[in-house]
């Protein structure tokens, strides 16, 4: 390293700052609640070859590899000599962009002194693309809405108005979609402008040297982190609820000297419902989970991602092929970290948490269909609630906290202000955290009804109702998720449509995380504290922890 490297490092910091700035601007301008609450966007800067140099750290890991791969794909589709300043390319192809139609990916070549020097790219979740809408009910991708193959959205700064009209004409939320697309365009343009400005400031006219520096340093650090791990292959099977039947997810994790390979061979086949997962998306969550343990401080870029390789047989449910329905690919995608951790835990038992609730419990609520004709209030609300995370080897799991997604929960007061619902209870559910030397995080207990004595509809696509989070090394499993209407109502399945009638109370419990280690080894004072705080019952203290309060 010499002083030139300090300059390169300053430029690297600058690129990281630019993508974060882009990401923030995109989140603020977005209309989709999932973008606002989860930061379901991405922004990145790429070199001339399409290698990712910097990516914003945003709320959802679903964009981590997908964007890096998508840009390479688009880069291969369009010829460099055909690109002009002001051009922007677009696609929402789930197998290129980010796993379902709602995610729009834009790519803009960056010009400096009349030459393409690199690219900026960004992705955002649009509210509605027509079809059956966000839900698992589509039989194929054609049911799920409008697919736009890679094409030009802007031609030398002029908007492709026909394309914009098509997107609007095929959506229930045309105004919001248009707003989101403009926000994406502004995000690309701002990134391009800032990149060119940086090149001006530092007096460089290409990114090659900077790109090599970033990628080499990140690759080297990642390989060093991998080198510290034991070598070998470890396998795990995770049973999940699925829709029409339970599903087995299989993984084999191989750690070599300088690479980590993950393979899904053995995993169940496709579902007839839209919970199938394209491989790019399964890869994103799997690699995210691995990188939380292996070099989490190394930024995401082509170098740090290079040692990770994910494969799976075609048409297993984690490598769905077109035209499979994939709208709710995140339901199972979010389970892949637990699948991967089951392997990794065998290699490094002191670093990996137990299984957690993992799948976010989102609650898309709508007015009943007859509300329109009856003149009742029409509304659409997407609340997201989280369960508990798995116990960590040295720490209890986190109660009511999202992982692996970075989703934000909502506030009861703001929810009740904007929608005709009344939430009468939202508390941690005692005894729901799996017991162990360290305890799993607790799930929540939520009760909700219409505030207007009108029916409303609920669209479920959640996991861990039949298969709760398992503990590790003697830790117990966490409580399963549970959905019912009224205290004595029958338990409802985790997927499908539910009508909550006027006056009825929807009761909704999010799963707890699994425990870690033998509960008998839990320090007495920790059990006592849990008791004092009412997180566990006296019965559990006595029967599981063997402590007489």
């Amino acid at each position: 390293m010499n002083t030139t490297n300090t300059r390169l490092q300053v430029m690297w910091n600058r690129l990281l700052a630019v993508v974060e700035e882009q990401g923030q601007a995109l989140i603020r301008a977005a209309f989709s609640p999932i973008v606002r609450e989860c930061g379901d966007i991405s922004a990145g800067i790429f070199d001339l070859q399409g290698r990712m140099l910097a990516q914003a750290v945003t709320g959802t890991p679903g964009h981590i590899n997908t964007m890096a791969e998508a840009v390479k794909t688009l880069r291969g589709r369009f010829r460099l000599q055909d690109m002009r300043p002001g051009d922007i390319y677009l696609t929402n192809d789930p197998w290129i962009a980010s796993g379902h139609l709602n995610d729009f990916l834009l790519l803009m070549p960056v010009f400096y002194r009349d030459q393409v020097v690199g690219f900026t790219s960004c992705t955002s979740h649009l509210v509605d693309l027509g079809g059956l809408g966000m839900g698992p009910e589509g039989a194929d991708i054609y049911d799920e809405g409008l697919l736009i193959p890679p094409c030009k959205l802007m031609d030398e700064g002029v908007l492709n108005t026909l394309l914009m009209e098509i997107v609007k004409a095929n959506s229930r939320e045309p105004v919001a979609n248009e707003g989101d697309i403009y926000a994406l365009i502004a995000c690309c343009e701002a990134g391009a402008k800032r990149l060119a400005g940086m090149m001006d400031e530092f007096g460089i006219d290409h990114l090659d040297e900077l790109a090599d520096y970033i990628i080499d340093a990140s690759y080297r650090a990642s390989v060093e982190a991998i080198a510290e791990l034991p070598k070998g292959t470890w396998r795990n099977v995770l049973k999940v609820d699925g829709y029409e039947r339970e599903i087995d997810l299989h993984a084999a994790l191989s750690i070599g000297e300088d690479r980590v390979e993950l393979d899904f061979t053995g995993t169940s086949g496709l579902s007839s419902k839209g919970i199938n997962v394209p491989l790019n998306y399964a890869t994103a969550y799997s690699v995210f989970a691995l990188r939380c343990i292996i070099g989490p401080d190394i930024p995401n870029n082509a170098g740090s991602l290079a040692p990770f390789h994910v494969t799976g047989p075609k048409d297993c449910i984690l490598n769905a092929q077109p035209p499979a329905p994939v709208a709710m690919r995140h339901t199972l995608g979010q389970m892949t970290p637990d699948l991967v951790y089951g392997c990794l835990s065998q290699a490094v038992p002191d670093s990996v948490p137990a299984e957690g609730a993992s799948c976010m419990y989102d609650l898309p609520l709508r007015h009943a269909p007859e509300a329109v004709s009856r003149g009742d209030e029409q509304f659409a609300l997407e609340l997201v609630f989280s369960g508990g995370t798995g116990a960590r080897p040295g720490l209890d799991g986190l109660s009511a906290t999202a992982f692996p997604s970075g989703v934000w929960g909502s506030q009861v007061e703001t929810t009740e202000a904007v929608a005709p619902v009344l939430i009468t209870r939202r508390e941690l559910k005692p005894d729901s955290g799996g017991s162990g030397r360290t305890r799993g995080g607790l799930g929540q207990h939520i009760e909700m009804r219409s505030s207007k004595d009108e029916d409303f509809m609920l669209f479920l696509s959640v996991e861990r109702v039949l298969n709760p989070a398992r503990g590790r090394f003697g830790g117990e499993e966490g409580a399963p998720g549970r959905i019912r209407i009224g205290k004595d109502g029958p338990d409802l399945p985790g997927k499908g449509e539910v009508r909550v009638k006027a006056g009825e109370t929807l009761i909704f419990e999010t799963p707890g995380g699994g425990g870690f280690g033998d509960p008998q080894d839990r320090p007495c004072e920790d059990v006592q504290r849990d008791l004092e705080e009412g997180l566990i019952s006296q019965k559990m203290a006595r029967e599981i922890y063997g402590i007489d309060p």
Partner: protein, 699 residues
């Protein structure tokens, strides 16, 4: 009472130093001093500082007609967790508002993340039946029969203070008020904070967290303020003491004792007030204030002479200043970005062999290696010393010995060895990284606020602000910088320009198309009555100004945009103009409005203030002359990367109209202004230094 001809005294008690400034009736500084903060009883240090400036200027206590006090005590009590035993009472069914919060982790990749400690454990979290809804209707009466059980629980858990936060109390506080009365009747010594008084905004977690913070410091602050007042009165002070708030206004001791949470971060607010004042005096409409001290740097955007306001900030963020890692507090504040970059920030190398600076700081003890007080870790100040930017003989008025060799060793031994660099190269790298960090934080902050940094005037102060200003400005594309007089005690000077003011931000949900104008009028009238009563207590006479604002957004969005409202009841005919103002500001921030989308309003603000002291105007300086250097020294020029001779100037000798070119160092007792090679400097009629970047020359 503020007498026209009386003297005015400002005391800013910080963590390390207490700054005291005395001005005459026209606002001219008579004396300033920096005394060590007396941690055990901060009032003693304040008294010492006040006596010092009175003696220096030959003044008497009885001449003081205005006294403004700002203190970091409230903030420190929260950061160091030295507060009361607090319990909470929330609505039945909502015991876990604090633990559930926003259900998120503040760091996406940290498996072993520990959430911030929010003071009240679940064992001291109680509930009571009764429910209001979002439209202020009572759905279920308060469960009064449960109050004796509640009182017993509060006593049993040892609570000294209780934070009461009932669902939708911002809309209808009846249950909170009734519960307070019932508890007070049973437990007269219990300190009670009510959420609708402390923070009347929707969002139960933020409101509860703010109420807890208030309750936590209330007993301690109330007794501190009473003692402070008694001791100063005993010395002979006859005027009332006004307290500086985080929002940049002043309030009475009584209000401060009731709502001490409003006192947090008042020191930095003083700096922003100073910058806003200078902006107004120099007619600069877009300003970035840059306050760099020993541990952190604070940046604030100032538009139209008004510091950017916010409704929320976080206390005690975890070491890396990560958003979400602290305790959220929702009160009116001056919006500032604070990053761990100061003179004492420590440099190190990470596993990617990247040079990193901060946020860990060597603080004032042991301090940078160059201070020779036992510090061995390389810091930003060490890098400045090695680059020749600090003249050892005159640093801190010669009170601190600067050890150049210790600075070189610190830089070369740890970092230099790992990276294969010499001390000078490391020093250059440390500066580049820390300056880039500050510039990046500023740019990010501007983007988050929908604003741009370029074209702004930077106003730099604090112990290290003038030293790093040109370097940070260049990276932020800022071309002009102003260094005020006495930049080392900028916050205390700022206190003297603050009005007496009080702001209330209250939630009331409505869509723009269906506003209930009569109800809104009553809503504002109630806020006006409450705020005016508070302000009149501190400013019994004189004209009061009111400012009304609405926080608007498109339905479906989370980001609210602040829109000024006329100071009168809204009428139907105002609606098109309001929508127009929203769309204009929206398209300014996001390049394009979204016609046809519903616009909604959740929060409304009302601020009442007295008038600020009149502006001082300086006649334009017509005669320009080259300034006379007092000497030269070798510095590492960061523009050419070569050692060059820099002219040295004594700030106290510079006169209006003096001009000089970089590289140069302008030295004064508490700081040094570094004029980079690509900047030139000029002194204005108010003795401010103006630095201007020459884009073409010297590159």
């Amino acid at each position: 009472m503020r007498e026209e001809n009386g003297l005015r005294l400002a005391v800013d008690i910080g963590g390390t130093f207490t700054d005291t400034v005395l001005v005459d009736g026209r606002g001219h500084i008579l004396a300033t001093t920096k005394t060590p903060t007396t941690i055990e009883n901060p009032t003693l240090g304040a008294l010492a500082g006040a006596k010092h400036v009175l003696a220096e200027s030959g003044s008497e206590w009885s001449q003081i007609g205005g006294f403004i006090h700002g203190t970091t005590l409230a903030t420190n009590a929260l950061i160091e967790r030295r507060g009361a035993v607090v319990a909470t009472v929330t609505s039945e069914g909502f015991r876990d508002i604090l633990e559930i919060a926003y259900e998120r982790r503040f760091n996406q990749y940290e498996i072993n993340l520990v959430k911030p400690d929010l003071i009240v454990p679940r064992s001291r979290a109680f509930t009571i039946g009764g429910r209001m809804d979002a439209r202020a209707q009572e759905l279920q009466p308060l469960e009064e029969e449960a109050v004796s059980r509640l009182a017993a629980e509060l006593v049993a858990c040892g609570a000294e203070a209780v934070a009461i936060c009932l669902m939708h109390a911002y809309a209808n506080p009846a249950h909170e008020l009734r519960l307070r009365d019932l508890l007070r009747a049973r437990l007269p010594d219990l300190v009670i904070s009510l959420s609708h008084e402390v923070s009347p905004e929707a969002r139960e977690f933020d409101r509860l967290s703010t109420t807890i913070a208030n309750a936590y410091i209330q007993p301690q602050m109330a007794s501190y303020l009473a003692d402070f007042q008694a001791r100063f009165n005993q010395e002979g002070l006859t005027c009332p003491i006004l307290m500086m708030t985080a929002a940049g206004g002043m309030t009475t001791i009584e209000t401060a004792a009731r709502l001490p949470i409003r006192l947090v971060e008042s020191g930095p607010a003083g700096g922003a007030i100073l910058a806003a004042r200078l902006a107004a005096e120099t007619s600069e409409r877009e300003v970035l204030s840059f306050d760099m001290g020993g541990t952190t740097a604070k940046l604030c955007l100032i538009d139209q002479y008004r510091p950017q306001a916010a409704r929320k900030f976080e206390i005690a963020r975890a070491a890396r200043f990560i958003k979400g890692s602290g305790m959220p507090v929702r009160i009116p504040v001056i919006e500032m970005i604070e990053i761990g970059a100061g003179g004492g920030s420590i440099a190190h190398v990470d596993r990617l062999y990247r040079l990193q600076v901060g946020p860990e700081s060597a603080g004032s003890e042991p301090g940078p290696a160059a201070f020779a007080k036992g510090g061995t870790e390389p810091t930003v100040t060490d890098a400045d010393v090695v680059q020749g930017l600090i003249e050892p003989e005159r640093f801190a008025e010669g009170r601190l010995r600067i050890d150049m060799d210790a600075a070189k060793t610190a830089l070369a031994s740890g970092i230099g060895e790992i990276l294969g660099l010499g001390a000078v190269q490391v020093a250059n790298g440390v500066s580049e990284i820390v300056d880039e960090n500050m510039a990046a934080a500023g740019r990010m902050h501007a983007v988050e606020s929908g604003k741009d940094l370029a074209a702004r005037l930077m106003i730099a102060f604090g112990g290290n602000g003038p030293l790093h200003a040109t370097r940070v400005a260049r990276r932020a594309q800022v071309d002009r910088i102003l260094i005020p007089r006495d930049p080392g005690v900028g916050s205390a000077v700022g206190f003297l320009f603050a009005p007496v003011s009080f702001e209330i931000i209250r939630s009331r949900y409505a869509t723009l198309e269906a506003l209930d104008l009569d109800a809104l009028k009553a809503f504002f009238d109630a806020m006006i009555e409450e705020a005016e009563a508070v302000v009149r207590a501190g400013a019994p006479e004189g004209r009061l100004t009111r400012r009304r604002r609405a926080f608007m957004r498109y339905h479906g969005q989370g980001h609210e945009i602040e829109i000024p409202l006329p100071d009168r009841a809204l009428e139907k005919t105002d609606m098109p103009a309001l929508l127009g103002a929203f769309e204009k500001e929206y398209s300014h921030q996001f390049s394009r409005a979204v016609p046809g989308m519903t616009v909604e309003i959740l929060n409304w603000a009302l601020e009442v203030s007295s008038e600020s002291p009149a502006l001082t105007s300086h006649s334009e300086v017509l005669a320009k002359q080259p300034a006379q250097p007092t000497g030269q020294r070798q510095i590492l020029c960061e523009v050419s990367s070569e050692w060059r001779n820099a002219d040295l100037f004594d700030r106290s000798a510079l006169r209006p109209g003096d001009q000089l070119g970089g590289p140069a160092l302008i030295i004064e007792p508490q700081t040094t202004t570094f004029v980079s090679a690509d900047f030139s400097a000029e002194i204005d009629g108010g003795l401010n230094i103006w630095l201007t970047r020459n884009r073409e020359g010297n590159r």
